[in-house]
């Protein structure tokens, strides 16, 4: 209505260029909104860590006792050996399998809560109309949660690696073995990061939490199989040799991983990866996993920006 006097409006920014809401504000926001999820994850990891610690001490003890058992052929030592091969190994193997599932579970549990939860409950209508804007909001949340999860996962996997060390050599498993490689070094953290990024991305695509969780598990499975069966063999760390003597001897933790053999003329060739290439392989795999996670994150942000609900 023109010409009427309106009350003065103190405290209103009439400034021309608006400074954006600063990034650190999102720390409290992310924490408060995802506190439940983060605390749950930390609690579970803590509980399992306690178990790994206790069980690991036992396993290490049994292993040392076995190694130091003299004479090696005696009944007592054989019994120890048998016990270790059965009880300890069964437990260790089970934990190994669970450890391989862990990144998928962590990602499926945490990823969709970032976006799918907002879309499903309708709270995005609040969140995306706030002054900070949806892009900053998304980037901050994804980054903060990714960092926390990755650190937790990384620390946890170190503990597991220690736990599992006495089992290296069992069933031909060395650190390069498919299921073992994922759980050590920086690989576990990288896989967890990718699972989280996939969970967030799929959450934005499906807009529902449960379908996003299912899709994350499925995608993770596919990606893992791809890495195990196809990609790892092609990492540029393999060596070719005609020296068959490298492969004699029983399976020990130091046995190389044989990729394939072929014959040229009268010579046999082996393609293999020595155990010493563990860390280069870790960096290669973590590298492309990190890139993939970033790509998924960027894709998520792009969807947030573009998609109107």
């Amino acid at each position: 209505m023109s010409g009427l006097t309106r009350p003065a409006q103190p405290g209103r920014d009439a400034g021309p260029a608006l400074r954006p809401v600063p990034w650190p504000r999102m720390i409290w926001v992310t924490w408060r909104q995802h506190r439940g999820v983060l605390v749950s994850v930390a609690a579970v990891l803590a509980a399992v860590s306690v178990f790994l610690l206790v069980a690991g001490l036992k396993v290490h003890h049994d292993d040392t006792a076995l190694i130091n058992c003299h004479p090696a052929n005696s009944q007592a030592c054989a019994a120890r050996n048998s016990s270790f091969n059965n009880a300890d190994w069964t437990m260790g193997n089970t934990v190994l399998i669970l450890m391989n599932l862990a990144p998928a579970l962590l990602g499926a549990f945490t990823g969709p809560t970032v976006l799918a939860r907002e879309l499903e409950t309708g709270t995005f209508r609040y969140a995306w109309t706030q002054g900070i804007g949806r892009v900053r909001w998304t980037i901050a949340k994804l980054t903060l949660l990714a960092v926390v999860l990755t650190i937790l996962a990384g620390a946890f996997s170190q503990l597991f690696a220690w736990f599992f060390d006495p089992f290296l050599g069992f069933e031909g498993m060395n650190v390069l073995a498919a299921t073992v490689f994922d759980t050590r070094g920086i690989d576990f953290a990288a896989w967890t990061l990718v699972a989280f990024a996939a969970g967030a991305f799929l959450g934005m695509l499906t807009r529902r939490i449960i379908p996003a969780m299912a899709a994350t598990l499925g995608a993770y499975l596919g990606l893992t199989l791809l890495a195990w069966l196809v990609l790892r063999e092609d990492y540029p760390v393999a060596l070719d040799t005609t020296n068959g003597n490298l492969f004699s001897g029983q399976n020990t933790p130091n046995s190389p991983w044989i990729l394939k053999t072929w014959t040229v003329g009268n010579t046999d060739w082996w393609r293999f990866i020595p155990v010493s290439r563990f860390w280069p392989m870790q960096f290669i795999e973590s590298g492309w996993l990190l890139l993939l996670a970033i790509a998924l994150g960027a894709g998520t942000v792009w969807l947030v920006r573009r998609r109107a609900a």
Binding site: M1, L4, R6, P7, Q9, G11, R12, D13, L18, R19, P20, V21, R25, M26, W28, V29, R32, Q33, G36, T121, G122, T123, F124, R125, Y126, A127, W128, T129, Q130, G131, I132, G133, W137, A308, A309
Partner: protein
């Protein structure tokens, strides 16, 4: 300054248009009531105004030409969606803190005082509050941002009469204190009559009528007279709606301004807001009155008495 300006705005979902060819300007400092039946396009229009939905056709700007979803627009517009979404697991105090962190501007003291006046405890989880209280919390955090424009999507529909009063009183007080402009939608006009000074009527995805309430009421009137002379006068006087019985007819005409005359043998009455809105909403198919061309000739419609 116009707080909302649209030109040919439209939104299409698949094959059907939720809103089509909507051109309107909502002036600053008013409470604009957006009315229409369910499915008329009210939510669609509001969602486009705050950037939650992208238009399929046409353009829209806010706050005097700002781009929607720009930092200026996000900063100065507060939106409350239908069903007042709040994070149910957060306490009221958390919601305040959350909103403070997500915005440049936040008046926490006024917000806390308002909530105290309403008797809403800060420590309680919002999910445990009543519907009316949740709506008040959502409104309070929206107003605490000191927006220049407040957009409320059907805020009253889930509230009991007392809660509605409280809600509207809060909105009105904010208008008086801060000069905030308000766009508020409802499918029930009666409760908005006392508070609205600008009206936007949507029906079937189309803009049927828009204007300041005082102007609209001054421009329209109902002429009552013999049915025999109806056709002649309806054409002359650009009738919006005709109600005809055997001997008597009522014409709703839009021919405002000084110096208009009453045909001999006819009486003139002022028209009420609700009657006006219903008249513009009623014809669904042919004979839809055009809201943008004032005084255009329309087909006659008969409404069985």
């Amino acid at each position: 300054m116009n707080v909302i300006e649209t030109a040919g705005l439209g939104k299409c979902y698949g094959k059907s248009w939720a809103l089509r060819d909507c051109t309107l300007t909502v002036p600053e400092g008013s409470l604009a009531a957006l009315v229409g039946p369910n499915g008329a396009g009210k939510s669609t229009l509001m969602n486009m105004a705050v950037g939650l939905t992208l238009p399929t056709a046409g353009t829209a700007t806010v706050l005097g030409g700002q781009v929607i979803r720009s930092p200026a627009a996000l900063n100065d517009i507060a939106f409350m969606a239908q069903d007042a979404p709040v994070y149910k697991s957060l306490s009221v105090a958390d919601m305040l803190h959350l909103t403070r962190n997500l915005n440049r501007r936040f008046d926490a003291d006024t917000a806390r005082a308002r909530l105290a006046d309403l008797g809403i405890p800060l420590k309680k989880k919002t999910g445990k509050l009543s519907g009316g209280q949740q709506a008040q919390v959502a409104l309070t955090v929206a107003l605490a941002r000191r927006p220049r424009l407040l957009i409320l999507d059907e805020p009253l529909s889930a509230l009991d009469p007392l809660a509605r009063q409280d809600f509207l009183a809060t909105v009105m007080t904010a208008m008086a204190d801060d000069g905030v402009s308000v766009l508020l939608s409802s499918h029930a006009l009666a409760e908005l009559e006392r508070v609205a000074d600008y009206l936007v009527v949507l029906g079937g995805g189309e803009l049927r009528l828009a204007g300041a309430v005082d102007d609209l009421l001054a421009e329209h009137r109902v002429l009552t007279g013999p049915a025999a002379g109806t056709d002649q006068f309806a054409a002359q006087l650009s009738a919006v709606q005709v109600k005809r019985a055997g001997a008597q007819a009522h014409l709703l005409v839009r021919d405002g301004g000084p110096g208009r005359t009453v045909p001999p043998g006819w009486e003139s009455h002022p028209v009420g807001l609700e009657e006006l809105v219903l008249a513009y909403l009623r014809p669904a198919g042919g004979g839809t009155p055009s809201a943008t061309a004032a005084g255009s000739r329309t087909e006659l419609t008969e409404v069985p008495r």
